[in-house]
Symmetry: C2
Subunit: 456 residues, 2 copies
């Protein structure tokens, strides 16, 4: 028997199996901190469902692990290579197979980029609602595998809520179809939901049927600058108390504003220490924005009175607030969520942690969902850091997790457990719940070839 | 060893185990046709999570089946008694344990009636969105177990979309908590989603954390009468093409209108052969209703111009359009769903089937979801039916299922498979998918004590 690489090369066409040093390194990691760097045996580019099935069968027979990969924009290490693995890149399976404006559904291959689907849908007055800030590059397959959230999820739901049906290649190479083409369907167990968010550990998603929503014709955007971060967090609650459901409600702290100014030459820090961006949409957008403006002003904000154009530019900036930074061991982005009533407390706790551990902090939040992305980092002088800084960074990270859980929160609102957050999963889920998941994993993948060591 | 009844009486307090002939008969069935009548050994009324755990343990030890039951409004026979079973009625566990207006969440026991939760939420400007037409009597536990839909689900989602976390007693009597208190959370596999819609076959739901939505302050209702059913179905598509998302879009055919007139003394049949009821809500309700009126008028409808009051009365009538009728072998209500673009074709096909088989037909539909409830029935003269009528009824039922599937539909949009629809499940799901579900069932309930012979 030859090596798995020989075998895959025999099964697939030329150019579908790459073992070059540069691609191996590039595809070895996603955007998360790397805690156990491994080089894959090969990067494999299936172009059809049949290709995926052949590759999975070959790997299963040889006991080689399969790490599926969309665009590699994940920030939890779900697509990091593991020992003795191939990377299965779905990027070439990027066709929109069907888009039915009357059914308000689309069927796509996993490698279709979120923004590409949205462009196609927009031609029909439709949109694919889940919009991770990575929408210009991340794939629908990756979004499904992580149950991605995004900016407009408080109103329109997360990926799970837009997925109707899936085609999945199982660990033995067989293909199943789950779910329904209709908006509703309750025949049998919700296998579709089980695959969504399973981070490639239960099967390879090779086809996705999604429900599309209506592209709002009217959008109003309100930018509210605050003298401090906690007041801004309180603004989120105030909008909720007014019982107005914005499409977008993003919270940016002073650190984030400073970074945006640095990158884009804007003057945000001059205008406030924190920014709350609220977007309303639909037929009631203007009336809703009016209520939002009033409520935020009453809460101490300086609210944009100008036309929405400038505020919309700020939403664009926010979508890129992660910049091009990649997390590493010196800089870690979190993804906790807390019940909305605890937003202010949690934000206060974060500030205290950063001060206590003398680490840098910046926070952006999908605040309508109570989903916060604090990033902690430490300074580097060349390759060095201050003695003890690494430990203090870890303490701050652990504290931010513990505090979120103590407030009834979760360690991951939308990014997934991947590899990096496994260390905290036991704090959120008791052993019985984890064991149940391990048994489900065993049922789907008894040999453990699908993305081992991730998600659960 | 005594009987299970003795054992349960020893474990529970007086009055919690009922073996009277009348209650046994009453709790033996839900509202679905009965194909295999069985009398339970007892009806058991737990009053706490600990009670449920004890009962499940005792039954598991004795190999006695457990049929969980909410209000028994199910129409698929999911709560029908099976051989050698007890009925576990959750109706006494009916407390709202928490309702947080700022978090916009509530925690309830399974026996809380949908309408009761909605009344409590309304005091805070909130609502529990999924509203099956049975909302005045059905329980949140039952809604969760069936993943119930309802009238306003096209806009607000089905039960699954409002459930954040569950407390579940497993087949061995152990208790687990799944999900998260936050709006978003992706730690591990979606066990919550797996339990939702599992019809009591994977575990007993003893606690539910739900997300609440904002009670719309403004609601506009449009009633559109049509000269025929197909034109009305086309109206649903026209509203969609205008990219307006109503909260409610209910379609009633002539048979349903006649029945409503019978029961309520209304004059609906005089006004049209079919009725499309559209409700818009929220800040944009008036503007949306305006578009809806125009679009429907253009499609041949006579649209109410009067104030919404009368149209709202019609929505109330619709909510009760099932009347008090209980399905039986002579009268069977279906629950298919088709992709929206096929609504008109499907409605035409239904009319042809009824004519072909000479059976009566009436149809109501949650049309925004493409979810139709055709009811087929045959006349009875006393205890007798015309020779061959029973067969023709069965043929019409089978044809309606086959046609829905052929159009890309499902055999159950919201009522569940229960017991009655098992005969069609194999037409919708191939053996590999069914086998996967059986293995999941085995994993959760190896001895098969939880609602055997249902759902999958
Ligand atoms: C700038 C930036 C902004 C971001 N903003 C958001 C945000 O707002 N919301 C949010 O939720 N996330 C966000 N993310 C995280 C990331 O973009 C999402 O997790 C996204 O869904 C990943 O998609 P991908 O195609 O890059 O998948 P990858 O990173 O390639 O993979 C992600 C996981 O899915 C698995 N996988 C990928 N494709 C498949 C498949 N076809 N079948 C089975 N498993 C598969 C992988 O093994 C891995 O475990 C952001 C990331 C960046 C870098
Ligand atoms: C007039 C009328 C209108 C209806 N309209 C709608 C509608 O619009 N949309 C819709 O979806 N349905 C509708 N239904 C069907 C029915 O009301 C729903 O299925 C409802 O969710 C059942 O709730 P229940 O409390 O009556 O549950 P039951 O009928 O008692 O039980 C339903 C199923 O859930 C299981 N179960 C119940 N409680 C639990 C628990 N705590 N843990 C585990 N399993 C449990 C049972 O074993 C059974 O399988 C309607 C029914 C009627 C009679």
């Amino acid at each position: 028997m030859g090596s798995i690489v020989d075998e895959l090369e025999a099964i697939l066409a030329p150019g579908q199996v790459d073992t070059g040093e540069v691609p191996l390194r590039r595809y070895a990691v996603d955007q998360a901190p790397v805690i156990d760097f491994q080089l894959p045996l090969a990067v494999v580019f299936p172009e059809s469902v049949a290709d995926v099935q052949s590759v999975v069968k070959a790997c299963a027979d040889s006991g080689v692990a399969i790490v599926p990969r969309g665009a590699g924009t994940g920030v939890s290490g779900g697509a990091h290579a593991t020992a003795n693995c191939i990377i299965l890149s779905l990027e070439r399976m990027d066709r929109i197979l069907a888009l039915s404006p009357d059914d308000e559904t689309a069927v796509v291959e996993p490698g279709v980029v979120n923004a590409v689907l949205n462009e196609a849908a927009a031609e029909h007055g439709l949109m694919y609602a889940p919009d991770p800030a990575s929408f210009r590059s991340s794939t629908i397959g990756g979004n499904v595998a992580t149950n991605a959230g995004g900016l407009r999820c408080a109103k329109y739901g997360v990926t799970r809520d837009s997925v109707l049906a899936l085609d999945v290649v199982l660990a033995d190479g067989s293909l199943i179809h789950t779910g329904h083409q209709t908006f509703k369907g309750v025949a049998g167990y919700d296998l579709t939901g089980l695959f969504v968010g399973s981070e490639g550990t239960l099967g390879i998603v090779v086809g996705i049927t999604v429900r599309l929503k209506y592209l709002p014709r009217e959008v109003h955007t309100v930018a509210a600058f605050y003298p401090d971060f906690r007041l801004a967090a309180a603004g989120v609650l105030a909008v909720g108390r007014a019982r107005v459901q914005p499409a977008i409600m993003e919270l940016l702290d002073g650190g984030t504003l400073a970074q945006l100014d640095d990158i884009h030459g804007s003057d945000l820090t001059a205008r406030g220490k924190s920014l709350l961006l609220v977007q309303t949409d639909g037929f009631g957008a203007a009336a809703e924005a009016e209520v939002v403006r009033r409520v935020l002003r009453d809460g101490g904000a300086t609210v944009t009175t100008e036309a929405s154009a400038e505020a919309e530019r700020l939403v664009e900036l926010r979508r890129h607030s992660r910049g091009t930074e990649v997390d590493d061991e010196y800089r870690v982005g979190e993804d906790v969520a807390v019940p909305r009533s605890r937003l202010v407390d949690y934000v206060a706790a974060l500030e205290a942690m950063a001060a206590g551990q003398q680490v840098h902090l910046k926070v952006v939040a999908h605040a309508g969902d109570g989903n916060l992305h604090p990033t902690f980092w430490i300074d580097r002088q060349g390759p060095d850091v201050e003695p003890g800084a690494m430990d203090r960074l870890q303490v701050a990270l652990d504290e931010s997790i513990t505090a979120a859980l103590a407030m009834g929160g979760t360690i991951t609102g939308e990014h997934g457990i991947g590899q990096y957050k496994l260390r905290w999963l036991g704090q959120e889920q008791p052993e019985a719940v984890r064991e149940l998941q391990r048994r489900i994993k065993d049922l789907f993948d008894p040999a453990g070839v699908l993305n081992p060591g991730k998600a659960i």
